[in-house]
């Protein structure tokens, strides 16, 4: 668990630095994509339902985002946390019947 959090911290920290120090130099890109936001959304979408890396990444990502922006600390944390909760909630609602069906089919086979 601690290892996972450390990897997440490092990844999100590097992502925010890459975004604020590397992508910012490319003037031809009118809008710089928020790598933190993309990372948090993707992690929440594709991680297993029982795992909570998405929520942790929302906290950490939000924190780093706040540090390297002019926003108050907490603004992006809350935003990403709510987003992660929303994604989890939607996925839980959407895929519940499918999971149930899978379990049923497994039971039937047995």
């Amino acid at each position: 668990m601690l290892k996972k959090i450390l990897i997440l911290v490092l990844t999100l920290y590097l992502l925010v630095l890459f975004q604020t120090s590397f992508l910012i130099s490319f003037n031809f890109l009118n809008k710089i994509p928020s790598l933190i936001l993309i990372f948090v959304i993707l992690l929440n979408l594709f991680e297993e339902k029982e795992k909570n890396s998405g929520i942790i990444s929302a906290f950490l990502g939000g924190f780093f985002w706040d540090i390297f922006s002019t926003a108050y600390i907490g603004f992006h944390i809350i935003f990403l946390f709510l987003l992660a909760i929303f994604i989890k909630f939607i996925l839980k609602k959407q895929f519940q019947p499918v999971i149930k069906l899978d379990r049923d089919s497994k039971n039937n086979r047995i």
């Binding site: 120090s21 910012i24 130099s25 490319f26 031809f28 907490g74 944390i77």
Partner: protein
């Protein structure tokens, strides 16, 4: 202790701690942010320099394309300006010629149409001008230079162009007169830009340097238009008439603008 083991309370405690931490971080916001900026500086520097190099590379490429485009546009503009310049020079020349014509008072004497010479056929003593029947030109209209020197007359009229027969053409002959002397004769084209003054009565004294102008007789040209200068008089004992060579003032090499007399 059981109180803390219930998940709802655990969550509650977590939220309270979270709010406290956030509050604390915001209280020491400057210090927290400064700390992170300080530890991030080497990595940020690395990212920044690398991105600058890459960005510069891409900008150079994009700049080359931009410069190429700009160069093409400037080339086009130069061409446009050259054309405009040529056009303005033509206007200037036309203006000068018109001013010269105004000094002579041509516009008061005749109704004129200004035309440009677009081709010359010296061997056949013809020139082509850039106005035709659409511009009101018709056959046999006299053509003169801005200096009021006779060029010839319109031989053929097209829609937008006219062919002018020069006075030096073998097909050309009309009545002429020695200026300030009532000596009449016939101006004849000899071909190859040569003109002669023929049928000069023997009893009339014509000398070199006399100026020849058009006469009202024959009605081809209006009177008083300069034809040329008597160059060499040929006198024959047997002939009833004398003949003289005319040095034409017409310089075909410089002839660019001519006037067509529409009405006289």
């Amino acid at each position: 202790m059981r109180f803390f083991q219930k998940p709802i309370y655990q969550t509650l405690i977590f939220i309270i701690i979270f709010i406290l931490i956030i509050f604390l971080f915001n209280f020491y916001q400057k210090e927290v942010k400064n700390f992170f900026y300080k530890i991030s500086e080497p990595i940020q520097n690395f990212f920044w320099r690398t991105s600058q190099k890459i960005s510069y590379f891409f900008e150079t490429i994009s700049e080359i394309q931009k410069l190429k485009k700009e160069n093409e546009e400037l080339k086009l503009k130069v061409q446009e300006l050259i054309t405009e310049n040529v056009s303005l020079r033509n206007f200037e020349k036309e203006n000068e010629e018109l001013r010269a014509a105004l000094k002579i008072g041509l516009e008061k004497e005749f109704k004129l149409s200004i035309t440009q010479v677009i081709s010359k056929d010296i061997s056949q003593d013809f020139i082509l001008v850039n106005k035709g029947f659409e511009d009101g030109l018709s056959k046999d209209l006299p053509v003169i230079t801005p200096q009021k020197i006779l060029v010839g007359k319109i031989y053929e009229v097209y829609k937008n162009y006219s062919r002018v027969i020069l006075i030096s053409s073998k097909e050309s002959s009309f009545d002429g007169k020695i200026v300030e002397k009532e000596i009449l004769g016939q101006v004849r084209g000899e071909g190859n830009l040569k003109v002669s003054f023929d049928l000069i009565p023997q009893d009339k004294e014509v000398s070199e340097g006399d100026l020849v102008e058009t006469s009202i007789l024959g009605g081809i040209f209006p009177k008083g238009i300069l034809v040329g200068q008597i160059n060499k008089v040929q006198k024959g004992d047997v002939q009833t008439f004398n003949k003289a060579e005319i040095y034409s003032f017409l310089d075909l090499g410089k002839l660019e603008t001519v006037f067509v007399i529409l009405d006289f």
